[in-house]
């Protein structure tokens, strides 16, 4: 797993803001639509959402 550079994070940040408020179903549709416009961006976000799901499952920072 590679760390995200500040530039990478800044690029992804507004998309995360938008997508984190969505339901799973809405996000899937949104990603599908985004993939048609920018496949690389959609794939990066998909990876982060998978990580988010995993960290939520294991209760990361929930003490």
């Amino acid at each position: 797993m590679q760390t995200l550079s500040p530039e990478q994070w800044q690029a992804l940040s507004p998309y995360l803001d938008e997508a984190l408020g969505m339901t799973d179903e809405e996000r899937t549709q949104w990603l599908s639509s985004l993939r048609a416009q920018n496949q690389e961006l959609a794939e990066q976000l998909e990876i982060l959402f998978r990580e988010h799901h995993a960290l939520s499952q294991k209760g990361f920072l929930e003490t």
Binding site: M1, L4, L20, G21, L48, H52, L55, S56, F60
Partner: protein, 188 residues
């Protein structure tokens, strides 16, 4: 959460900036609660007392002459950041002491030693939080309040004048960043 908002009314209008001393006195109860909760949550570091943490936080903050806090949110956010720094320094010192005192282990009461894994994780989270502060300071402040000081989403929303949903969304975003940064460091 009961803040004495009157101390900040003038400040919000730009006519009065209460100094650290005034804010510390006004918000002492809340700061004490914050310190107590944080130390309870990080029970492994209980060798640092609530009064000591508060006292050191006061010395740190009052030592930075000229600091102005126009509202309670910024003051409490700053106080949370200072307390995290003090707790992390304490954890680092204890870890260093343990390493340096490797051959004197019998002189140490085992009950007083924190779990080294917890301490290491805590330091790692704090380092990643410093990185987050550079790219999204608002997210870092939220993590200080939520993770390091134990504020609830509702309390943070009231403090920062945001909706609970916005706070929750930002919290999830911060978790993504911190998780990625910590795991990336761990694989080096």
């Amino acid at each position: 959460m009961g803040f004495a908002a009157s101390s900040f009314i003038g400040a919000a209008e730009g006519s009065y900036n209460p100094g650290t001393d005034v804010l510390f006195s006004t918000l002492y109860g809340e700061l004490h609660r914050m310190a107590k909760r944080e130390l309870a949550r990080r029970g492994a570091f209980a060798s640092m007392g609530v009064t000591t943490l508060l006292h050191e936080a006061y010395l740190d903050m009052s030592g930075r002459g000229g600091a102005c806090f126009p509202d309670e949110a910024r003051f409490m956010g700053y106080a949370a950041r200072v307390m995290r720094g003090l707790i992390i320094d304490h954890a680092r010192n204890r870890m260093a002491f343990k390493r340096g005192g490797e051959f004197q282990i019998t002189a140490i009461n085992g009950d007083e030693i924190e779990n080294p894994v917890d301490a290491k994780e805590l330091l790692s989270i704090s380092d990643s939080l410093d990185e987050l502060e550079k790219v999204e300071p608002e997210l870092a402040k939220l993590v200080d309040l939520k993770f390091f000081c134990g504020f609830s989403f509702v309390e943070i929303a009231a403090l920062l004048k945001l909706s609970v949903r916005t706070v929750q969304r930002r919290w999830e975003k911060a978790r993504i960043y911190l998780h990625r940064t910590i795991r990336a460091d761990a694989t080096i």
